[in-house]
Each structure stands twice: as C-alpha cells, then as structure tokens.
Symmetry: C2
Subunit: 212 residues, 2 copies
C-alpha cells in the first residue's frame, strides 16, 4: 500500500516552520534561519554534494525514494495570492524543478497545468486534503505521495489523519513568530510510533510512523 510521507520538515523549538508572509525575497517568509544549521536540503542523494557525507545529509536524502507525486500549498509554489494575474510564473525553480514527478498545487484559483522536460509537472487543484490526496495517488502510479509543505499544508494533512510517515527535524533556535505547525494538533503524537536521534549539527531527527 502506497504511503503518504512528509520529509525534511524543519521546525524551530517554538514550533514554527515558516514565516508569516512569503515574498519573492523571502520564500520561507523570513524563517530562513531554520536552515542555517544545515547547509542545504540534500534531496538528490549524498553524492550530489561535496564532502563530507554527514548523517544529516544521509537522512534527508530519503526525500525522493519511491515518491510518485507531491502535494504542496500555493505558498510553496509562489508568493502570489488571489486570482492568478501572472501565468508566466512557473515556480521558484527555473527550468529544472527538483521534483521530477507530478505535483498537485493546492489553490482556490484555477489555472492550466504546467510541464517541464525533467518529469516535473504542476497541477492546480481546489480540493480538500483527502480529495487532493486521491488526485495525487492517481498521478503517482502506485508509488508514495509526498506532502511537500508548507507548514499549514502539512498541518491540514495531519489534522485529517492522512500522514503515514513524517521526518520532522527540530532545529535548536527560537524564531518567536511565524506559522506554527502544531496549532490544533494536541495529542497528534499518539497516532504515531516515534524514533529520534541527534547529529553533530545540533539538529534532532524524528521519524514518525503511523501506528497500524
């Protein structure tokens, strides 16, 4: 049975995983400090970076393994809000988006799908989490579906109990403000078996596997 997975989800000690307002200059809304303890989100495999091969890199490299589609919130796709006025916007990533699979973008505003030569395509969908997941599963060809964020998208899927696996990374910083991942998720941990470990960078990696 294909899983629904969250990967490389970085959260501050006070529970924030993004800033409040995403702009062209601040694609994580000012919460870029979350990634200062780690030199990048190595999602292509440990060989894709120069030495050294760290534990952080090894753990984050599971991002794409067996993934057939992603679901993302609109804020991850771009800084625009409301009806699309600029359909020239094709995401933050230029001609080589790293996804290499179909991607469902959650938005209330319809738009034509976009395809790239490297296997990435974006499909704009106005749907509940459950319906979006069904659409993504159709696109995933039997493989797993990744919930790609941002914070409020991950929170909605956790609230709907649609997450089978989550790789959460707690970062030893206090952001003070932003989008909290945990609002409305009291006791969410009870549905999961949780394993944690530390690395030299100060990050703590948590693997949440849903109890069956």
């Amino acid at each position: 049975m294909a899983r629904t997975r969250v990967h490389n989800f970085f959260v501050s000690l006070d529970g924030y995983s993004a800033g409040e307002t995403i702009t062209l200059d601040k694609p994580i809304g000012g919460a870029e400090r979350l990634f200062q303890h780690f030199d990048g989100r190595v999602i292509e495999g440990v060989h894709a970076v120069d030495d050294p091969i760290t534990l952080d890199r090894a753990l984050t490299s599971t991002w794409g393994q067996g993934i057939g589609a992603e679901i993302m919130g609109r804020g991850k796709f771009g800084p625009q809000t409301g009806p699309w006025t600029d359909e020239e916007w094709r995401g933050w990533w230029g001609d080589e988006p790293p996804f290499r699979t179909p991607v469902v973008v959650l938005t209330h505003h319809a738009r034509e799908s976009i395809s790239f030569d490297n296997g990435t395509s974006f499909h704009f969908v106005d749907a509940t989490p459950a319906d979006a997941l069904e659409r993504a599963r159709d696109l995933a060809g039997g493989k797993d579906v990744r919930i790609g964020g941002g914070a409020s998208t991950v929170r909605q899927f956790l609230q709907a109990d649609l997450i089978d696996f989550m790789h959460l990374v707690t970062v030893p910083i206090v952001l003070g403000r932003g989008v909290s991942i945990w609002d409305g998720l009291e006791e969410v941990q009870d549905r999961f078996a949780i394993e944690s470990t530390t690395t030299k960078s100060g990050l703590v990696h948590h693997f949440w596997n849903r109890e069956r």
Copy 2:
C-alpha cells in the same frame, strides 16, 4: 572528484565483521547474528520495505546513491577457494544481483566476466587494492566506487588509505571469533572526521569522512 565509499559495514563490539569460514549455508561465516538487530540491509531505498521507515533503514539506504562500481573480495562472491572448478557459480544472488553496476571481484584466479540483464557485471581481477580501484574507476563512469567487503577487503583498503567515506555500524553483541576488521589498523581513526549517532535498535551508526 569521485569518492571511494564503504557502506553498511556491521561490526561487533569485539571488532568482528564476519566469521572465519564461508560456506554455502553460512555466507557470513557464522556471523549472521550481526544482522539480528536489524531486519535487513535496505539498500534499494526506504520505499522498498514495508512500514515502518526507521532511522536504520534511512541511513543504510545511502548504499547505492551515486555509485558506479563496487569492489568485493572473493568470499563475498562465493564460498569457493583456489582455482575455479565450477564456472556455473554466478554469485549468491540468482538472476538479479542487487548491485546493478560493474563489480570487480578480487581473486588470484582468472575467470571470464559475467553479465546480468539488470546492469550487474562481475569482473575477476588479480590486483593490489590501488590497481583494483583504478580498474573500478574506469568502470564507474565518473561515479563513486563502493568497497563492498568482506572484512579483509575493507581492512586492506583502509590500510592502503584508499577510503574516503565509511558508514560503520557497531552492533551491541560479542561474537568472540571471526575476521577482525581492526587488525593492523592502529590509529586509523586519526585520518578521519567521525560523527556518530544511536538508534532505537541499539545500533550505533558512525560516518567516517577522510580529512582533506
């Protein structure tokens, strides 16, 4: 620059990573207990196994990332010793060896190469570690080379200072006998920056990156 990497190298508390005599029934020479704390060597990616996705599985799944060729000792290829009398033997793995790259098998006894449909091929080479590595690099197409074991092969490459990265896994058991990885390697750790972490299974994962 392509690396030379060791992955998923399981060692007991007393430094043994294989038994002394490999037979058809005991491909690790009686040291199979090394793997009892872990339900398999997940080398294809975390999606290749059923739930749960554990930290152990995530870390071991880096085995194949960016690898273009492997070097193995003869004992990993089969239980035979001396001149080849049975060229029907094509390794332990049937028609689908998991390597999917060229593999250099170190042996003093010449034999024709063997190829499989899934991209695996075995090339029998009588060479020093340095010369075998040169051969493997030719076959690897610019990608990294993995030193696949067994214990004495890894030890020889460490002694020759040819290893850039090693994922060592210490297992909380005492085997009492076998092939020691550490013989003749006093102070080998001084050449590496080492990072370690623990997981729920009791395994400790050590990432050794050669100092540049």
